[in-house]
Symmetry: C2
Subunit: 290 residues, 2 copies
């Protein structure tokens, strides 16, 4: 049971976390802080928050559970701001899409209190953002990855894990480095690839004509290009190394495909498409859970 | 009113065309030919076809309406096979995703009968294929592009247009060259980009682990990588020139993005993501129709 939950950054993820815990009946009061006052008022009117706090420090000062759900680029400052106000019994988690950089910032800001922080990443999202997009079932059946620290006590990890389980999520644990490598490939690269394609098309004089004739394939492929620009800027920079590697691999894969096409190598093209199609169909069993 | 409709290639598109015209009550009998006997039997049992024919020639011999719905690579041979059997009053359309190559093959095969052929491209599809995937509402509210020939009589174009309108589609006309350029950008490139990404990931030793952690963004981005490999091989080769140009533009766009990331150019990255996100959101008005 959480007595007082502090949500710092009351958007889709933070807001949904609050709503899910409220629905599960495991939280007493929810207080919130964010940069956008209008969004906080919306959150309160929707029942996401009970109380709006004016500073990060005030938000965490009496909290026993803290969720940091701001874009990862804003985490270092936020951690520094809350550190002096943390209670000894407060547990902190975050929802950042990258973990090594968050852990680095947390160690710097929290010092001796680092054992109170259990890094997390819920694999759930949507192109909509803000408190109005929050919904209690967002994490239901979704995966949440925790990348615990050597300093975390087993009981601390179990409690944070329990919060996410109360939201209906399946929790797994892995090392932060492994997490960042996997998500560079299956999430960060696809987002950048979609952003690049749409931005390039949008620059052309005939952009409107082109988009007008786009079908459902284009719609699916580019859906993630509507994602939150600031959030994705932060993710890209936070996972720079692994992501540069992934872009290089992808460019090489595209160059190989281009060569097959230029050579008119019908058999090799079909073989490549078949490998992709088979893999995508086989792995639908995983994907349909998400 | 169509007396006898011949479907050559009874898959998702050809089968749905037959079902839609039947539901609209504008067709007497539907006969069909295809390479896969089992698929034809399924089509007949599902009511897509009334009669299975053993050769393309036999299928078209008494037809006044003919739909060529095979992968574009199979069209040249098919056109050559049906040419000697065409009635003077038979009108032919196709559903190929590329148009200049189809027109080239049709001129070679049909000779004096070229005026009976109105090239078409319905903008509808799905990752599923075969007669079992066919459904009468597939084209409802979708766009169908005709790229008429100088030789077509206005009445001929109007009749073929009427077939698609009877399927619930909105018909537009444009030049074949323009069609091929537009679809290289908004359809063929995205498919190749998705095939390349999934094939590259699938080759890695950790592929299963990676796919296991893929979320809804990855699922959307790669959905088109489950598309029919043979069909896409044919489309890629048929639209080779325009598609090579598009791959080059895309690789340049990715290289620019990579450079911004390597430089840690936060402002330029955000600006690029914002251009893409705004374009993708603005153009949802077009896309939601498809």
């Amino acid at each position: 049971m959480i007595r007082k939950l502090a949500i710092l950054g009351v958007g889709l993820i933070g807001g949904s976390f609050a709503l899910a815990l409220k629905r599960a009946g495991v939280v007493g009061q929810v207080v919130g802080y964010g940069r956008n006052r209008e969004n906080l008022e919306v959150a309160r009117s929707l029942g996401v928050l009970d109380v709006i706090m004016d500073t990060p420090g005030a938000a965490v000062a009496e909290a026993d559970a803290i969720c940091l759900s701001v874009p990862v680029g804003a985490l270092p400052d936020l951690l520094t701001q809350i550190a002096p106000y943390l209670r000894d019994d407060a547990l902190i988690t975050d929802v950042g899409s990258t973990k090594q950089d968050v852990i680095f910032a947390a160690r710097a800001a929290l010092g001796d209190r680092i054992a109170q922080f259990v890094p997390g990443h819920p694999i759930a999202g949507a192109e909509d953002s803000g408190a109005t997009a929050a919904r209690p079932e967002l994490f239901h059946g979704k995966s949440v990855i925790l990348t615990p620290l050597a300093e975390n006590r087993a009981e601390t990890i179990a409690r944070v894990s329990g919060w996410w389980q109360a939201c209906g999520a399946a929790v797994t644990e892995m090392e932060a480095e492994r997490h960042d490598r996997i998500f560079a490939a299956v999430s960060h690269l696809p987002h950048l690839a979609a952003f690049a394609l749409v931005a390039e098309l949008a620059e052309r004089p005939e952009a409107a004509l082109f988009f007008q004739h786009a079908g459902s394939g284009f719609r699916d492929f580019t859906r993630i290009a509507a994602s939150h620009p600031e959030m994705w800027r932060d993710i890209a920079l936070a996972n720079q190394g692994a992501l540069l590697d992934e872009i290089d691999r992808y460019q090489e894969a595209l160059a190989r495909l281009r060569q097959l096409l230029e050579n008119g190598d019908s058999a090799a093209l079909q073989a490549l498409f078949e490998r992709a199609s088979t893999a995508r169909r086989t792995l639908t069993t995983y994907l349909d859970r998400s």
